[in-house]
Subunit: 150 residues, 4 copies
């Protein structure tokens, strides 16, 4: 997982603008914590409205922020005018997600012309303690000329 | 994908009770549409609060209901007193999810003593028209004696 | 998983010709059992040279024939001159693979312009008895104009 | 991916003995290059018998050595007497696998009582040049008392 260079000098504002259009992130209460070339972090504060039957964060909530983190990590490396689509992702749940907040970190493993592969981690923070609670691999597609932006 | 038989005669009320404790399903607006041995359907009405940047349902929202549908399909076949945990799932997005509502169908492929493998489909309904928009494979674990129920 | 129509009337000879170039299939002892639009079956006779440490077929051998079955199911629907590449696959092992032979069945779930998603099953045959021992989901890409054929 | 400690002081000989029983590794020509707690590398020399239709290493051959590397990385951390089974794995192909040889590196991400999650990478070596050609996530299960060893 090496360092990347953005093709689009406006990559950060472009990612932020697109994130702001993801109404589901607002519904979840997720915020964009960091944007760098090939690297995007999304933070989510823990609350009851996001839990499963045992009181932990629902795997789908973790998957949602990890998918967006991976997708925006991919988008940050795409040429201006291209949009990103999630083709597929796989998530492994390593431990119950509790604590104050979770951070989903999306990282580009390989950026190709059409296909970008990303790695994601979800880390639960409880005060000073950290624990990786989920890992993701996601395949993203660069879409051009379909009348959709970012 | 054959027919299954429940070990627990109370499987339906047990699934419904557990689903009602998943506060994230309420936050999404998802409802339990059908419970049968090894088969659970969850319905979600489309609304702006669940969308991604292009106005379609966010992949994470689809993954959330498909994960719950798969998990409860697995739970429906587990012995009384056992609980279900998602170990991992993989979802492929086949088409943009639009329409009035989506239905996630979870089906047990194989129920083992410890591991249950499920197949999930998310179908978008637009009036009378149907379209499969995502498919999932999920691995679930039967958990006993850990002080958690269902 | 509906019926499909081939764009290339020569789809069968094209699949068979490409399969014959996969020297790894010969090394495994795998043969092409059936080719139809969007549906390809590959057969493998069980032998010690393909086993893991407990004497069952190695998961990698199952994955190899399931990947080829899925890839050729995808290729059977592609336009003339296009080639197929495996982007990713996921396989679940449901039971130990024993018996006389295994059959990998690849089926196209959705054929898009660039991305084709396939479902695969590996079925172990022991005399008259059948058992599904593995399931796969594979994402394939249609490649044009890269100087590679089929 | 932190450092791990083996529970079984004989972990290395145990992994080597089990690997030697995987006849499929011999058929492929794969060798055990390195064994450490939670870390196993398997090497495979490139040859025509392992290729797909375009002359590159077949994705199934890469998956086979990555699955074994992940499985043995998991086994290296298991208690004496336990055996390892692959529940599922997912592999992404990042680039065509060519060169003199490939190295599959399996690393434990999290070792639980029943479930171990591993990360795998396949790196192609062409003289001094290296290239990551595939990444894997694998879920392994610890099996006790089933009459199978290692």
């Amino acid at each position: 997982m090496s360092a990347h260079e953005a093709q689009d000098p406006e990559f950060e504002s472009r990612v932020r603008r697109s994130f702001d259009r993801q109404q589901f992130m607002t519904t979840l209460g997720a915020t964009l914590a960091r944007v760098a070339p090939g690297e995007v972090d999304i933070e989510l504060r823990t609350r009851e409205a996001l839990t499963q039957q045992h009181g932990f964060l629902h795997a789908g909530a973790l998957a949602s922020i990890a998918d967006s983190a991976c997708g925006y990590a991919a988008l940050s490396l795409m040429p201006p005018g291209a949009a990103v689509l999630s083709i597929e992702f796989k998530i492994n749940m390593l431990a119950p997600a509790a604590g104050d907040r979770v951070l989903a970190r999306g990282r580009v493993i390989r950026a190709g012309k059409t296909i970008t592969v990303c790695w994601g981690e979800v880390i639960a923070h409880d005060g000073d303690r950290e624990r990786t609670v989920a890992t993701m691999v996601a395949t993203m597609m660069t879409v051009r000329d379909r009348g959709i932006a970012d």
